[in-house]
């Protein structure tokens, strides 16, 4: 049975239909990629799954529970988490406390001391330990991305949406973040990666969903998707040559 089930979800903003009957199914332990051009509705889909907005129609279930209209913090307690395209750290808290607060309030309710110990270990795991006592405003983009990954880990999230975790990164920085993502997945975390550029997920994802105009256009293994005529025509055809 699938862990996350999104069925027939519609979300409108005024006259704009951002999601127009999206279907998405994620099984436990999977690493799924979602790709699509700008405005395809990828981030809106994440926001609807996380409860930032409620859909106008459709249904979302997680772990067999209907979460369509559940407030965001309760979804977090059930084991859903995300990272943000533009990182959103808590600037008044030190790096270690940014992670600790997620351990305090995530899947379990932990006291401060225990949460900080967990945070310390997780910062080592994502190779950010030496910045533990700094404030997030002094962190680089890579470090902020790693901080958000550590936060999701601290929550003991079962399923994490990574919203363009590669955005703005190249070379060594990109490899570093992707290797952390791979380690998390190998550690048993179910991951949905939203990406703009196919290349990033091609080697990582087991399954790829292509979105277009608020709908699912195609779905399959990376090689199936990249050879799908509709995908090539409407999305990759233009972009594939650049990659």
């Amino acid at each position: 049975m699938s862990m996350l089930e999104v069925s027939g979800v519609v979300k409108r903003f005024g006259g704009l239909t951002a999601l127009n009957g999206v279907e998405l199914s994620v099984r436990g332990g999977e690493l799924v990629g979602i790709i699509g051009p700008n405005g395809a509705g990828k981030t809106t889909l994440v926001n609807v799954v996380m409860g930032v907005y409620y859909p106008d129609s459709g249904r979302i279930t997680f772990d067999g529970h209907d979460i369509t209209r559940m407030p965001p913090h309760r979804r977090a307690k059930m084991g859903l988490s995300r990272t943000y395209q533009v990182p959103r750290p808590f600037n008044d808290l030190k790096v270690i406390d940014n992670v600790a607060v997620a351990a305090m309030y995530g899947s379990k309710d932990l006291p401060v001391g225990e949460a900080r110990e967990i945070a310390e270990n997780l910062l080592r795991r994502v190779r950010l330990a030496e910045r533990a006592e700094d404030y997030p405003e002094s962190l680089s983009v890579v470090e902020l991305r790693k901080l958000e990954l550590a936060r999701a880990l601290a929550q003991e999230a079962k399923l994490v949406f990574l919203d363009e975790v590669s955005a703005g990164l190249v070379g060594e920085d990109l490899r570093e973040v992707l290797s952390v993502v791979r380690e998390l997945h190998e550690g048993g975390m179910t991951i949905v990666m939203i990406e703009h550029v196919m290349k990033v997920i091609f080697n990582l994802a087991e399954r790829i969903v292509v979105m277009m105009n608020g709908q699912k256009l195609a779905e399959g293994t990376p090689s199936e998707v990249s050879s799908d005529a509709r995908v090539v025509e409407s999305y990759l055809g233009r972009r594939w040559s650049e990659v």
Binding site: P71, H73, N91, M104, Y105, V112
Partner: protein, 341 residues
């Protein structure tokens, strides 16, 4: 707002010492300075109540609602229900806490400046209740309520106020250091991201309003019990808004990011306010409002130069001095190494 100068324990000792000095010095100086010192203690508690909300992302423009509720509850419990004034001083503010929870329940569902508009809009309602004919048997209407003498030797009033002020500081520090404090910082920084890590922002905002309501009401009750012995409807901050505005001025000019900044603001500005007010009242009948104008200008000047208040400015300066010393030390070690070679 990371204004950490020293450990929690040292900070608490420093605050205790400052409060003790204010109390001791004013006692030596005489009766009038002693009264001013009592208002410092009262307004420190009151400003802490405001800054607690502000540091959870909620700007209250009607904090006097709770201040006045505390004052009236104290008076009514002591007069109409014959409660011991010492007990009434602590029981009365429970009304402020209940009102805070109710206002907080709604404010937690409002964004940004709507919290300010909402809280501001409540103060005329409080005033209207205080002067209403139905409640006149308890509130004495527009005439105001004279309260019985506080049953402690008057030489103990300032020490008592000082202890309460320090207790309020400790409550703020405990909140900061506990689990809830981390949640409040997260909510203040980014409410959406706080929800993502599992924090129930609405619940915590409501709780914080309840705590803040109690503290503001305690300040109101202290103000009446230890200073004025009289409760007027305009304590509700209507039509005279100053009762809602002083805690904002004291907190923001002093540095609302830390309770020490709030203390600094109160200790510096409360006596200044009294001085300006008494000086201006000799010139014109609107002296009180002119004092507000002067403080408004002062706030603008300070915030242009020091956005995090005076304490924030000092903390930043100390931090940069430390950093410079560290760099100099590192450079020194390098120089030694190179001469060694």
């Amino acid at each position: 707002m990371k204004l950490d100068l020293g450990s929690t324990f040292i900070r608490a000792i420093a605050v205790a010492v400052v409060l003790a000095i204010v109390a001791a010095a004013s006692t030596i100086m005489g009766t009038y300075p002693t009264l001013i010192a009592i208002t410092i203690m009262v307004f420190f508690v009151y400003s802490l109540s405001w800054s607690l909300l502000a540091n959870t992302g909620m700007v209250s423009l009607g904090q006097a609602l709770f201040f006045a509720l505390g004052a009236y509850a104290y008076g009514i419990f002591a007069i109409s229900y014959g409660m011991n004034p010492i007990a009434a001083l602590f029981v009365g503010p429970v009304m402020g806490a209940l009102a805070g929870l109710a206002v907080g329940f709604i404010s937690a569902r409002l964004r940004d400046w709507y919290v300010g508009i909402f809280t501001f809009a409540l103060t005329p309602a409080g005033y209207a209740l205080a002067v209403s004919s139905q409640l006149q048997p308890w509130t004495a209407g527009a005439v105001g309520l004279a309260t019985p003498r506080f049953p402690l030797g008057s030489s103990l009033w300032l020490p008592f106020a000082t202890v309460l002020a320090f207790a309020a500081y400790l409550v703020i520090m405990i909140i900061k250091k506990r689990r809830i404090g981390y949640a409040l910082s997260a909510i203040n920084n980014d409410e959406t991201a706080a929800g993502t890590v599992g924090i129930n922002a609405r619940l915590y905002k409501t709780i914080v309003f309840g705590i803040s309501g109690y503290m503001a009401a305690l300040a109101g009750a202290m103000f009446v019990a230890l200073y004025t012995s009289y409760i007027a409807p305009d304590y509700f901050g209507y039509p005279d808004i100053s009762y809602s505005v002083w805690p904002i001025f004291y907190s923001m000019i002093g540095g609302m990011g830390s309770p020490e900044g709030v203390l600094l603001g109160t200790v510096l500005l409360d006596p200044l306010e009294t001085a300006i007010r008494s000086w201006l009242s000799g010139i014109s009948v609107v002296g009180g409002n002119l004092a507000l104008v002067i403080f408004g200008l002062l706030l603008v000047v300070v915030l242009l130069k020091a956005p995090k208040g005076i304490y924030g400015y000092v903390a930043k300066y100390v931090e940069s001095r430390k950093a410079r010393a560290r760099r100099a030390a590192e450079a020194g070690t390098k120089a030694e190494v190179s001469t060694g070679q």
